[in-house]
């Protein structure tokens, strides 16, 4: 992509691109991503803040010699891995087919005009 060939690019109109479909795709993606972002940011930044300001709480023993701090670290590993797998599944099953539909539709309309 370069400045030069961008200037000669066709000014696509929103309707020809099916921008409502793209907006729908973005909304679908956000419904999946937003809660997941909230979960991992809460888990991780929450842990960071507790480490800074609530040391004694993190020292509470929860599993034999393991304290709450290490348990929360383990929880963060679990959260990250589970979210990654969920996201990959949703993206493969929901997002990708939507993208294919949008591309097919745009090609179809492009062919007609």
């Amino acid at each position: 992509m370069t400045v030069a060939n961008l200037k000669t690019e066709i000014d696509w109109t929103a309707s020809a691109l099916g921008s409502t479909d793209v907006a729908g795709l973005v909304a679908t993606k956000l419904r999946c991503i937003a809660p997941m972002i909230a979960v991992y940011l809460t888990a991780y930044l929450g842990l960071s803040i507790l480490c800074g300001f609530a040391k004694p709480v993190l020292g509470t023993k929860v599993l034999g010699p393991v304290n709450l701090g290490f348990a929360l670290i383990a929880l963060n590993y679990l959260v990250a891995w589970v979210l990654a797998v969920i996201y990959a599944r949703v993206a493969n099953r929901v997002h990708d087919p939507l993208v294919q539909t949008i591309i097919a539709k745009a090609e179809h309309e492009g062919g007609q005009s």
Binding site: A4, L45, G52, A80, I102
Partner: protein
């Protein structure tokens, strides 16, 4: 150190050079050079990403921190994994769909403005140099220790290695060197883990109770390394958003054919590198138990030799054949790691200079394919030489803090600008310059007046300024956007941008 280390190291170097020769024959176009022909599979790119992210600072550093400071080391180790959630959910696929070789591509496509591109290039170069100098210095120190060479000779050897990989073999060689290294490192990690667990009857909880009994209850609490509570928060923020702004990690997503593969490669790295980092915590706790903090400090005050020492212990101890082989293997992998990571950084920097600055900004894209590759190779050599010289000058300076600075800039300047470019309709060139400018200035400025450089005379209490620099970077991006004001044509074009960001279809 000994013949075994030198032998293993020579074998690894020979293998990577053979890869480079093979890759050099296949590197003809700019796409080959910057993006390995966009032909890597998800697993290959996942391993290469694991290689990029498991730098020596990470796999030696995290183990050492855990052994000497307990929980803070484990906190350092979990950060990168969580950060890959940010990369997976909001950066990897849009980046792959939108750009060609660099972060600058995305900014240029969105803004179509040279000043916006120039700001992105500046951010990339500063981050990469700040990230590279500590790696060069660490590599020099490690080679000096292993082979008994002088520090400056060691740094030159590291620099020579990375220049050869990058200038000759481009991204294809760099990727495969990373893959080989990642496989070696993960195998070594698996063997070490089994040996460590074998010693305690596969019950790692033993380490918690043993270390607590030996070093006191505070060992298992946070705050032993990061004294200021806000530094803990800064570390968290910097990691979770900064990784998504590191140029050498981002350029990896251009080496795959499509967004779906980019997504799958992130899932790969999350399981590979995530599991490895979880192991560094166990290794650290085990080393504190088996080797002991005194012996670790005696070998290196920063604890960077913890993992090699643990390997030596598990192999049978100092002087035993098994111990020396294990030590030699871990040490050789560590040096290979450093060369591979600086190669990735050299490549990303040469992309910013040769592709963004020379081809797109100065020549407006009117450069023949052959000359683009030539420019990229020459730039890689120059960047390599500059990094080597800076690495030599860095002897004896506390450079570890530069890694923190690089991640802080990536989180405060690169990440907001990249994310807003992809998702905010009104975001404009003013926002790019405002975000990059304020993010960069506040990160560098606060780091310079902080304890990392001024010690006790620090004017500002935090080593890691992300907690302040990140909000400032976002503020700069928003203010810059508002000051420049709205532009109907620019905002209408956002529909086209969104179309490409989410489908990958190009006009």
């Amino acid at each position: 150190m000994n013949g075994i280390t030198i032998g293993i190291f020579a074998a690894i170097i020979a293998l990577t050079l053979a890869i480079t020769v093979w890759a050099a024959r296949r590197t003809r176009t700019a796409t080959d050079f910057y993006a390995a022909g966009k032909g890597l599979t998800a697993a290959q790119n996942g391993f290469a990403l694991a290689g990029d992210w498991c730098s020596a600072a990470a796999f030696l550093g995290f183990t050492g921190l855990t052994a000497l400071y307990g929980m803070d080391g484990a906190l350092y180790a979990i950060g990168p994994l969580v950060a890959f959630c940010t990369v997976l959910f909001i950066i990897a696929e849009p980046l792959r769909n939108t750009g060609t070789y660099t972060i600058g591509d995305v900014i240029l496509y969105r803004m179509k403005r040279p000043p916006a591109l120039a700001a992105a290039v500046l951010g990339t170069i500063v981050i990469n140099l700040a990230y590279m100098i500590p790696q060069m210095a660490g590599g020099g120190a490690l080679l000096k220790l292993l082979l008994g060479l002088r520090y400056d000779v060691s740094v030159v050897l590291v620099g020579l290695g990375m220049i050869v990989y990058v200038a000759a073999g481009g991204m294809l060689a760099t990727s495969w060197v990373q893959i080989v290294k990642a496989v070696l490192m993960l195998s070594a990690g698996t063997v070490l883990l089994l040996m460590v667990l074998w010693q305690v009857g596969f019950d790692p909880l033993v380490f918690f109770s043993a270390d607590e009994a030996r070093y006191g209850p505070s060992f298992l609490l946070p705050g032993n390394f990061l004294k200021n509570p806000w530094d803990e928060v800064s570390l968290g923020l910097g990691y979770v958003l900064g990784l998504a702004g590191l140029p050498h990690v981002m350029t990896r997503f251009y080496t795959v054919p499509d967004a779906k593969t980019a997504r799958r490669s992130v899932v790969w790295v999350m399981f590979l590198a995530g599991a490895f980092f979880a192991c560094t915590t166990i290794f650290g706790l085990a080393a504190a138990h088996f080797v002991g903090q005194d012996a670790i400090r005696a070998a290196d005050r920063g604890g960077n030799l913890t993992l090699p020492l643990l390997a030596q212990y598990l192999g049978g101890g100092k002087g035993s054949a098994g111990g020396e082989i294990m030590l030699g293997f871990i040490a050789a992998v560590a040096v290979a790691t450093i060369i591979a990571v600086v190669a990735g950084l050299t490549l990303a920097t040469s992309g910013a200079i040769a592709h963004d600055l020379y081809v797109n900004l100065i020549k407006k894209g009117n450069v023949r394919e052959r000359d683009q590759v030539l420019a990229a190779r020459v730039t890689a050599i120059v960047v390599g030489i500059v990094a080597t010289l800076l690495g030599i000058l860095a002897e004896g300076v506390n450079v570890a803090v530069l890694v923190i600075l690089a991640i802080c800039i990536a989180a405060s300047a690169n990440f907001p600008v990249l994310a807003l470019s992809l998702f905010w309709r009104r975001f404009n060139t003013g926002g790019v310059i405002g975000g990059m400018g304020l993010g960069l200035i506040s990160s560098v400025g606060l780091a310079l007046i902080g304890p990392a450089y001024l010690g006790k005379d620090a004017l500002w209490p935090l080593v890691n300024p992300t907690v302040v620099a990140l909000p400032l970077g976002v503020l700069g991006a928003v203010l810059g956007t508002l000051i420049v004001g709205r532009n109907d044509a620019h905002e209408r074009r956002f529909d086209e941008v969104m179309y490409r960001v989410h489908t990958g279809v190009r006009s």
